[in-house]
């Protein structure tokens, strides 16, 4: 299977490790992975800001960049949801492009659900001796039904124990530009999330979206809490030794 990695703008800028973890996992699942160079962002910031024209222009670029691959996989439910769910809505009134958009949507997936649901992966060969908890990022959960897949793979990680997070399905308050447009509200949401994470007693919190992870890591650290924050792909790929947790110096 020829798979194109949609790196996502946040992973590209903040944490390339997640991208390399995604490549490693996809290769373990038997995929041939390519990373088209012409990709930038999925256009969600424009789309959610009401700027349809720019969102469409960026989406068209994504359409061209990712033409011809069997699958397009992103280590983010948010970006994958944009391509899978929102692109078809964005072009609903554009019959000339809609078939191509639908075709891309059908080929687009979030990383962990792709590994499990499409590649049939049921275990990984990784070891991480930690008690971890897991936050279900909203878009992956509600737009793409990503829920059991990361838990199934995490269960195969040697030494890892999952302590479920009460309120795991409650938004962390990131919400793209929301977190800077309404910092007080976002603060309350991520503050509650940080308290709930700490209450699990877990040594680490994982999720499948870097936006949420930056938000959660930033809040935990502001509170002086030493809980490791990582993308689930880093753990599944056995790359926890390669890079310190998010927000932790090398």
């Amino acid at each position: 299977m020829r798979v194109a990695l949609f790196v996502t703008c946040l992973v590209d800028f903040f944490r390339p490790t997640i991208g390399f973890a995604a490549v490693k996992l996809l290769e373990q699942a038997g995929c041939t992975v390519e990373v088209p160079r012409a990709q930038t962002c999925c256009g969600q910031p424009a789309y959610n800001s009401g700027d349809r024209a720019d969102a469409k222009a960026i989406a068209l670029q994504v359409l061209d960049t990712f033409a011809g691959y069997d699958h397009v996989v992103a280590p983010s439910g948010s970006c994958a949801g944009m391509m899978r769910v929102h692109y078809p809505e964005l072009f609903a009134d554009d019959p000339a492009v809609l078939p191509r958009v639908r075709n891309l949507a059908a080929r687009s997936s979030e990383l962990v659900s792709f590994l499990v649901d499409t590649c049939g992966m049921s275990a990984v060969s990784a070891r991480w001796a930690r008690t971890v908890t897991y936050h279900d990022a909203c878009s992956g959960l509600r737009e793409l039904a990503v829920k059991d897949q990361p838990r199934r793979l995490l269960a195969s990680v040697d030494g890892l124990t999952l302590e479920e997070l009460p309120g795991a399905e409650t938004c962390c308050g990131f919400g793209g530009t929301f977190c800077v447009k309404y910092p007080d509200i976002s603060d309350k949401m991520v503050g509650d999330k940080a308290v709930e994470i700490a209450a699990t007693g877990a040594a680490a919190v994982l999720a499948g979206d870097l936006g949420c992870l930056l938000n959660i890591a930033g809040k935990l650290q502001r509170h002086g809490r030493r809980i490791e924050v990582r993308h689930v792909a880093e753990v599944l790929a056995g790359m926890t030794e390669d890079t310190p947790a998010i927000g932790v110096p090398r």
Binding site: F14, T40, N48, G50, R142, G175, V180, D187, M189, Q221
Partner: protein
């Protein structure tokens, strides 16, 4: 009612800083959603019922003109009268005129969001008529001169201690020695004050959860029984409802009722479900002499043909706000008008204008929880996004925000330049933050760093590293 939606941020900060509100919201957060979850679990066909509920409402809206006229015919046939009100002004005027025609002094009221929407209480008072709210929550906020903070639990922002204080301040006959420490005692006190009002009222005004076209009936659900006393004891019953409350048949109403209570409070049905059809008939033991329905449009018919039409399916269950993390953080008053939470974020701009209510559809993370629990599957995030599109098209966003967005969008369409800039910025920030892991402050990122640290980027962009590895791989 004077809207304060334009200062949503100020309202929100006040809500966040209000310890009583926060305590009340914590209770709500653990109450309603859990009770809904259990109720839904007990009804295996709930998801299918949501589809049916949606299709009933869609069908009705598709043929709204037909059902409205059928409803009017059947109200008339049962001896009642429909009054069409295009605006809030017209609705108030009709109600006043009916009240005056029977020389009303006291008007009892069941809970009605439409009465809140048109600001009926203040208007009646200005015209020498005393409105008395009979729903406990509404009664409490009426005493406190506050707007409702929730669709079905208008005083949810208060704890019982504030209610006790309110009663002590307002109920002159209340014995200062009497305990009001328990909810039960508060109910008894309210009941003691309200009972004579039920009997003294000349007119009873209720809302309607559903209007039934085939019978000309109005249906209300309550848990206190106050609605029944309001609509059966006085000589005149006025129903205030908006156009979209219509359903074709009693069967349809029954289907939606199965969704309503479960979505709202997690009950299988509310304690009282009351169907009113016309005034008292010969031989009836009780009931009003007159039955009026004031049907309010107030901008709704304008939504019918457009992208906000789905909003007219709303059955006012409050599931969206009960599950909304933003509502749970700031409370209903932050939204600054009658409707709050996700349904308010969509409906309010269409009723009072996007210029006034522009914050509301923006104050959402689009987490999607509201849509996932809506009994009639209203795509609330999508509708909020449509408001953002209108704002953007109308240049209503702050200029700095628009400029930032357009620079970013311009860059995103130039991959070579974009990658170069990302690599440069990642290297720069990585270098600036070396050995630290995170920034505690960062210029131009105050919105972020005011409340949380900013993790330092690894220092190289993925695409640069990938390109290097590819090159190295080719060379090998």
């Amino acid at each position: 009612m004077l809207a304060t939606s334009s200062i949503f941020e100020v309202n929100a900060r006040a809500g966040l800083a209000n310890p009583i509100l926060q305590q009340a919201l914590r209770l709500m957060r653990s109450g309603f959603p859990e009770r809904r979850r259990l109720a839904v679990e007990r009804l295996p066909e709930f998801e299918a019922l949501r589809d049916i509920g949606k299709s009933i409402k869609d069908h009705t809206l598709e043929h709204l003109d037909f059902y409205l006229e059928l409803f009017e015919e059947n109200v008339a046939a049962s001896g009642g009268r429909v009054h069409w009100a295009r605006t809030a002004d017209e609705a108030r005027a009709v109600v006043l005129q009916i009240c005056r025609s029977v020389d009303a002094k006291i008007v009892t009221k069941g809970k009605s969001m439409i009465a809140e929407e048109v600001g009926l209480n203040d208007y009646l008072e200005q015209n020498g008529i005393t409105p008395v709210e009979t729903d406990l929550g509404e009664y409490i906020i009426q005493l406190r001169h506050e707007p409702p903070s929730h669709l079905i639990a208008p005083a949810i922002h208060l704890m019982k201690e504030q209610v006790a204080d309110t009663f002590r301040a307002e109920h002159r006959a209340l014995d200062p020695q009497r305990s009001l420490a328990e909810a039960r005692q508060l109910c008894d006190e309210a009941r003691a004050v309200l009972r004579p009002q039920f009997l003294a009222a000349d007119v009873g005004i209720t809302g309607a959860n559903f209007l039934v076209a085939e019978t000309g009936s109005s249906i209300i659900v309550t848990n206190e029984g106050n609605g029944d006393l309001t609509q059966t004891l006085p000589r005149v019953h006025i129903v205030m409802a908006s156009l979209e409350k219509l359903v074709p048949t009693l069967e349809d109403a029954a289907t939606l009722l199965r969704l309503l209570a479960r979505s709202a409070t997690g009950q299988e049905s509310s304690a009282y479900t009351t169907v009113s059809t016309g005034p008292r008939r010969a031989g009836d033991l009780d009931g009003p002499e007159q039955y009026h329905v004031v049907l309010l449009d107030n901008g709704r018919s304008a939504l019918l043909g457009g992208e906000f039409r789905d909003m007219l399916r709303c059955i006012r269950c409050s599931a969206c706000m009960n599950h909304c993390p933003v509502y749970a953080a700031v409370g209903g008053h932050a939204y600054g008008w009658v409707y709050s939470g996700p349904m308010g974020a969509v409906l309010t701009p269409s009723l009072i204008g996007i210029a006034e209510a522009g914050h509301l559809p923006n104050a959402s993370t689009f987490c999607g929880k509201c849509e996932s629990v809506c009994p009639v599957r209203i795509p609330l995030p999508k509708l909020m996004r449509h408001w953002r599109e209108r704002q953007f098209a109308g240049k209503l966003n702050p200029p700095v925000y628009r400029a930032g967005l357009s620079v970013w969008a311009w860059l995103a369409r130039r991959p070579v330049l974009y990658h170069a800039l990302i690599e440069l910025t990642s290297r720069t920030l990585g270098w600036l933050g070396r050995g630290r892991g995170r920034f505690r402050t960062l210029p131009m990122a105050n919105g972020w760093t005011a409340v949380r640290d900013m993790p330092v980027p690894e220092g190289r962009s993925f695409h640069s590293l990938w390109a290097e590895r590819q090159k190295a791989g080719v060379r090998q």
